[in-house]
């Protein structure tokens, strides 16, 4: 299962990286969203994978590492804030610069 998990993380990362290299702001923000999925999964994986672990004390003898979970939570929230900012900035750039490409209109 670890293998497939890692493959998934790798593919989402690859997709995200490809998109952040695009010229349109929308694609870049999409790419950032994908990257944040990937990084959240990655960060989560730093606590290793546990199935049917206890989220609440006493539910089970096996515990998933809670610390990475807390870190991922923080990262998700920060990621949301950042994505929102980037998206609105893309709108602002469209308004100010007249196009929606990261480097201005190069066509």
């Amino acid at each position: 299962m670890e293998t497939i998990y890692a493959i998934c993380v790798g593919i989402i990362t690859a997709g995200g990286v490809f998109l952040v290299l695009r010229a349109y702001t929308f694609a870049v923000v999409l790419g950032l969203t994908l990257l944040s999925y990937a990084v959240n999964l990655f960060l989560f994986a730093s606590g290793r994978l546990v199935i049917n672990g206890a989220a609440i004390l006493g539910e089970s003898d096996v515990y998933a590492d809670p610390l990475p979970q807390a870190l991922v939570l923080t990262a998700i929230v920060i990621g949301f804030a950042m994505t929102a900012f980037a998206l609105i900035l893309a709108l602002r750039a469209r308004a100010d610069l007249g196009n929606d490409q990261v480097d201005g209109d190069k066509d």
């Binding site: 995200g16 952040v20 702001t25 870049v28 950032l32 990257l35 944040s36 990937a38 990084v39 990655f42 960060l43 994986a45 730093s46 606590g47 610390l67 990475p68 870190l71 923080t74 990262a75 920060i78 804030a81 950042m82 900012f85 980037a86 900035l89 893309a90 602002r92 750039a93 100010d96 610069l97 990261v102 201005g104």
Partner: protein, 485 residues
Amino acid sequence: MLQHLIFFPVLLPLLAGIFLLLPPLHGHVKRQRVAVLVVNILLLVSAVLLLQQSIHHEPQMYMMGDWQAPFGIALVNDKLAAIMLLLSAVLGFAVHLYVFGGDDQRGPFFHPLFMFQLMGINGAFLTGDAFNLFVFFEILLIASYSLLIHGGGKQRTQAAVHYVLLNLVGSVFFLFGLGIIYATFGTLNMADMAYKAAHLNADDIALAKAGGLLLLVVFGLKAALLPLHFWLPRTYAHTSTPVAALFAIMTKVGIYSLWRMHTAVFGDHAGELANIAVFWLWPLAVATLIAGIIALLASQTLKMLAANLVVISAGSLLLTVALNSPQATAAGLYYLIHSTLMSAALFLIAGMVQEQRGQAQDRFVRSRPVNQPALLGGFFFVAALALIGMPPLSGFVGKILLLQAAGDAADAVWVWPPVLISGLAAIIIFSRAGTTLFWRVQGASQNQVLAHPLQIAATVLLLLMSPALVIWGGGSDRFLFVSRL
């Protein structure tokens, strides 16, 4: 109260930011200005107290939530942190004075954002926890994104698009790095990491290396390490004057983090992980310096010149990190203080020149004269001398420290030529800039813009730091030599 002193540099701007959003401060320019001034003075006072504490005592820790060290988040005050805090307080104070000249009215929420920015910077200096460092990085970044666009304008928006998107990608790598660090070290406390670095499983070494080097990428992006520095010049040159001046300390956060992470955690003691960054930093720092020199010579406006100088100072500072000796760190610290304050001053001067010259702004072309040639010219001259590294101002001490730190003949071959040539390039471009901006004039000025007395006061305050750093440079001995990082 004093046992909470370490927390003040973060708490004060946080509370200030909050209260600035609430009545009775929200929407009242004067009250806001008084409030931020008071907070700034408190920040200065607490920074001075912290510096004193750090000189006379061992590093002090403040444990958030009263949880003991590797488990809770620790704020750590040592000499290095205290100096950085004082620097940010002085810079923040000066920039605030400047802003009272009217820049704070050019868009909403300037003061609260400024406060959050200071909070992020100070938090990054204080925290002893790797993930908390990420959080403070994000605070200072999101605040900087918002401040960057203050005042609006096409160029600013374009610069913001680049700066924001690039840093977002950078943050992703920060988290990848932290994930690996946690997966191998099993801890987030940096002191704990430093302790564990030497005892890592052999199987985990390569992984930990990858994690540590990913953090190098992130800090390098912040510190403007080639090839990650390209975002800097346009961002700094195109944002509003006070924000650019404040940003002068932002690259230093990157340098500081390198010291904390790569000199301390991955330091000499770290066994197989020792000095993993040095191999990469060496050539890249030299290359940064060279690219900075080239860009400096190509500068067409005063703000661009100032921004490229920031790149050069980043290159020099990265060299001190790469040199990796107590002497080099001391050199770096002195140079860091000097270059931050003087670059900020130059940005402020550029802003005043820009406003007085009308259409020509701060471009190096013949144009109408500024309205206060003696004042601005004098400011420019002082800042230029300091930044070129000519006596009697602080730049020369930094330069000598740097050259001496690289004294070992093998290192000198790499360090000396770019450092010396950067001085020459600065002479060339500054003399061109100064003679053009202030002396190559035609016609009479068409506007009545005069520098606001507080803008002048802010600039004078920053510029005075330079002779102060020289005259009392001898006393710097006590805190520049950071015995343990």
